[in-house]
């Protein structure tokens, strides 16, 4: 299998997943209890006239599959309809919120990777020593500390007591620092543990012993170990990224950040179904693409690893 076929296959798989998900997401409107038209009215006062108007506007009298294909065609052309609450075009409605969330998730990702990967490597290289134990305990605390508690503590000390950061809102990068730290603590803790374990496997491997036996330069040994350890680290980080988008809802609420998370909460509260559908679909796209890209990067770093597992499947 050459590189381009692998990439095409992986993206195709991603596309199929998204197609399936879009179906589930569209069904949300009908899975919610009650009359879909009534659901679409949201919390406004209902008149029969209004209901008729809504049914016509959303083609609710058509069969389910026809509605789904109409919605999907719209989605492909970036037309997701209008928000029920604000009557704005959904993309215009969501875009400013999405920007904030992307910044937040991006900063957290950079924070956790830049800190956690070196810490994990360092712990592995000093296995069993005091510093390894300290890092281990930190990782344990970090991965088990609930995000809302950490967020509140940070908020109290750094924003309320020390007044280093704003208490709420999204007015520039400094207002995103505390939420980003909150978000990256548990993810970072996982990456530390993961990196440490991946590196330990490489450090105790036969090829490491053989390289040491030949007095290969230490930085070359480290290079080899890092390259081989990178696959599990990257793959899991891709998966954790998905989780990051999930936990952002809570963090945005704590820090009152007008991001996707808060928008989603209010959209659910006001039963703004088209907005919920759009955010769900957008998150699905991001998560699918993130995991596809990590797989592709892992493959490009180590193309022969796939070949060898392929030949093992050969069975001899």
């Amino acid at each position: 299998m050459n590189k381009s076929t692998f990439i095409i296959k992986r993206l195709l798989a991603c596309f199929i997943t998204l197609f399936t998900l879009s179906f589930v997401i569209f069904s949300l409107l009908f899975l919610a209890p009650g009359d879909p038209a009534r659901n679409l009215v949201g919390t406004r006062r209902v008149t029969d006239e209004l209901l008729e108007q809504i049914r016509a506007q959303h083609h609710l009298d058509e069969p389910f599959l026809a509605q789904y294909s109409r919605w999907l065609r719209g989605a492909v052309n970036f037309d997701f309809g209008r928000s029920i609450r604000t009557n704005m075009d959904i993309i215009d409605h969501v875009a400013p919120h999405a920007g904030v969330t992307f910044q937040l998730v991006g900063i957290s990702l950079v924070f956790s990777i830049c800190l956690a990967v070196p810490l994990g490597i360092f712990a592995a290289k000093n296995k069993g020593k005091k510093i390894d134990r300290v890092i281990n305990i930190m990782a344990l605390v970090g991965s088990s500390a609930p995000g809302f508690a950490v967020g509140l503590i940070l908020l109290y000390f750094f924003a309320f007591r020390l007044r280093l950061f704003p208490m709420y809102g999204a007015s520039g990068i400094d207002s995103l620092i505390l939420p980003a730290i909150t978000l990256s603590i548990s993810m970072g803790a996982f990456i530390v543990k993961l990196t440490r374990q991946a590196m330990l496997n490489e450090i105790s491997s036969d090829y490491t012993v053989f390289m040491r036996a030949r007095a290969v330069l230490p930085h070359k040994i480290l290079d080899a170990q890092l390259k081989n350890a990178s696959s599990p680290i990257l793959t899991s980080t891709g998966l954790l990224l998905a989780g990051l988008f999930g936990s952002t809802v809570l963090v945005e609420t704590i820090f009152s950040i007008p991001g996707l998370g808060s928008l989603l909460t209010s959209a659910v509260t006001f039963r703004d179904v088209p907005v919920v559908q759009f955010i769900a679909l957008a998150l699905a796209v991001i998560i699918c693409l993130a995991s596809a890209f990590t797989d592709i990067i892992v493959y490009l770093l180590n193309p022969n690893v796939h070949q060898s597992s392929k030949s093992k499947q050969g069975g001899l």
């Binding site: 080899a224 180590n302 022969n304 001899l316």
Partner: protein, 498 residues
């Protein structure tokens, strides 16, 4: 490579003690080696052979505590040195090592040429030629651009040797360097190491559990047992006149192929398994090509061949783990055939106790739990092991558990797929005896798949020889050994008899 340089090295180690977490694994070892010597260190697994040689280049686990006097060329060296100082002993102009397992000794994500170059000292990068280095170990220049996963076990081990030699060592340690390879490749690699040693006038330490190998390739021998050197001296002399009990035990455990009696022919007329014209391909690779074999009730049949010859695929087809493309398998026994796999470390579920594993086996084969004790005693497993988990057991003990598990359903045919090749010779012999007894007491046929001819000579009355997916020859074991017709079979027998 160059004929004009003669290698001189003097290694002397006195009263070496190694302690790992309160366990004394080496108990005061005296060892020495001079220029040009070929030295063998022999002993059972766990006797401390590897520990001893790893102490010489500082590659013991970090938990190890060493003491003793270590002198290289008359200069003393601290055995508890830091990694930085050990680097001066290793590789360039010092000691280099060939690892046991060619499948894990190389970095999977780097092409072989770069890996060989990695160990070349900086100042000699200029005049190092990768093509010459590969030619010395009998490989084509194009191997340099390949990844380890694209090479066979033998080719990988040649790359490992080239990488070890690229550092221009003055002493080479070969730690069970051929144990993981099949007999023919084993012989080729040993001859290669011997040739290089002679050409470079380089001293070598061969670590092995195989007395034949030590006899053939070394002049001086050290016999180790339980962390001590029990006997040492001229190889031929020690093997001919062993003085210590442990040396004698090791010698008698090593089966001298020439002197072994043939397994008696006890085949009966009743056919229990018939495989007719079986073929199977995996992608482009033909794994089985028109393979036919018969097994009769209560007999012991061997299938011998190199790795990749299709033996294991055949076993998997017989027990139904793999479907064949064409051909027919007929089984006439009452209870489905059972299998004992090669690797006793991965075939038992590590989460469960032995008792659970065996009771589960009895349950799925609809046998009463009371038979637990019976299968235990048949497989000669100590009752005390019942409440342990697989990780607490030795390789031999685990393999007995795997056999006991296979006995639970009272099968008429037991398939042993390289079931003893991961174990050391003494344990191998014990397990083989157990299997032979089982065959007689339970009137159970055994299909023994192996690359080791001496195992077959002890156990099987008939043999099928497989090469490149085909059965190339079959007949009684004696007939095959004494008058093989096929070229491949002859090569196999020649490689096995030292």
């Amino acid at each position: 490579m160059k004929a004009d340089y003669t290698i001189t090295i003097n290694i002397d180690i006195k009263n070496l003690k190694v302690n790992i977490r309160g366990n004394e694994v080496l108990k005061g070892i005296d060892f020495s080696l001079k220029s040009g010597e070929a030295v063998a260190i022999v002993g059972e697994s766990g006797s401390g052979k590897t520990m001893l040689t790893r102490s010489l280049i500082g590659l013991l686990p970090t938990a190890a505590n060493l003491s003793g006097i270590y002198e290289i060329d008359g200069t003393s060296f601290n055995l508890n040195s830091k990694e930085k100082d050990w680097r001066k002993i290793r590789g360039n102009g010092g000691i280099s090592m060939i690892m046991q397992d060619p499948f894990t000794a190389l970095d999977p994500s780097k092409i072989c040429g770069k890996q060989i170059l990695d160990g070349v000292p900086k100042d000699s990068h200029g005049d190092f030629d990768i093509t010459t280095a590969l030619a010395e170990v009998g490989l084509d220049a194009n191997i340099a651009g390949r990844y380890p996963s694209q090479l066979s076990g033998g080719q990988r081990q040649r790359v490992v040797i080239a990488a070890a030699l690229a550092t221009k060592p003055r002493l080479l340690i070969a730690d069970e360097a051929t144990t993981a390879l099949d007999v023919i490749t084993q012989k080729e690699i040993l001859e290669l190491i011997n040739k290089i040693r002679a050409g470079r006038q380089m001293p070598i330490i061969i670590i092995t559990h195989d007395i034949h190998l030590a006899r053939h390739y070394s002049e001086k021998i050290f016999v180790m047992d339980k962390g001590c050197i029990v006997e040492s001296g001229n190889t031929e002399h020690i093997i001919e006149n062993p003085k210590k009990e442990s040396t004698k035990a090791l010698l008698s455990a090593n089966r001298f192929l020439k002197n072994l009696p043939y397994a008696s022919d006890e085949s009966k007329a009743e056919l229990i398994l018939s495989v007719k014209s079986l073929s199977k391909t995996f992608g482009k690779v033909q794994a089985l090509d028109d393979v036919s074999i018969n097994v009769y009730a209560g007999e012991s049949v061997g299938i011998v061949g190199q790795s990749g010859s299709g033996k294991t695929t055949l076993a998997r087809c017989i027990i139904g783990l793999t479907g064949a493309d064409s051909g027919k398998i007929e089984y006439f026994g009452k209870v489905a055939p059972q299998i004992v796999f090669q690797d006793p470390y991965s075939s038992l579920n590590p989460a469960h106790t032995i008792r659970y594993v065996l009771e589960e086996a009895l349950e799925v084969s609809n046998r009463p739990k009371e038979e637990l004790m019976e299968i235990l005693s048949l497989a000669e497993v100590d009752e005390k092991l019942l409440y342990r988990k697989p990780s607490d057991l030795s390789g031999g003990q685990r393999q007995r558990i795997a056999i006991a598990r296979a006995l639970a359903p009272r099968t008429d045919l037991l398939i042993c797929d390289e079931s003893v090749s991961a174990l050391d010779v003494i344990v191998q012999n014990q397990i083989l005896k157990t299997l032979e007894n089982l065959r007689k007491t339970r009137n159970m046929a055994i299909l023994f798949i192996t690359h080791d001819l001496s195992v077959l000579r002890m156990l099987a009355s008939r043999v099928y020889v497989m090469n490149k997916a085909r059965v190339v020859e079959h007949g009684s074991t004696q007939q095959i050994f004494e008058s093989a017709k096929d070229e491949y079979t002859k090569k196999l027998i020649e490689a096995s008899v030292f």
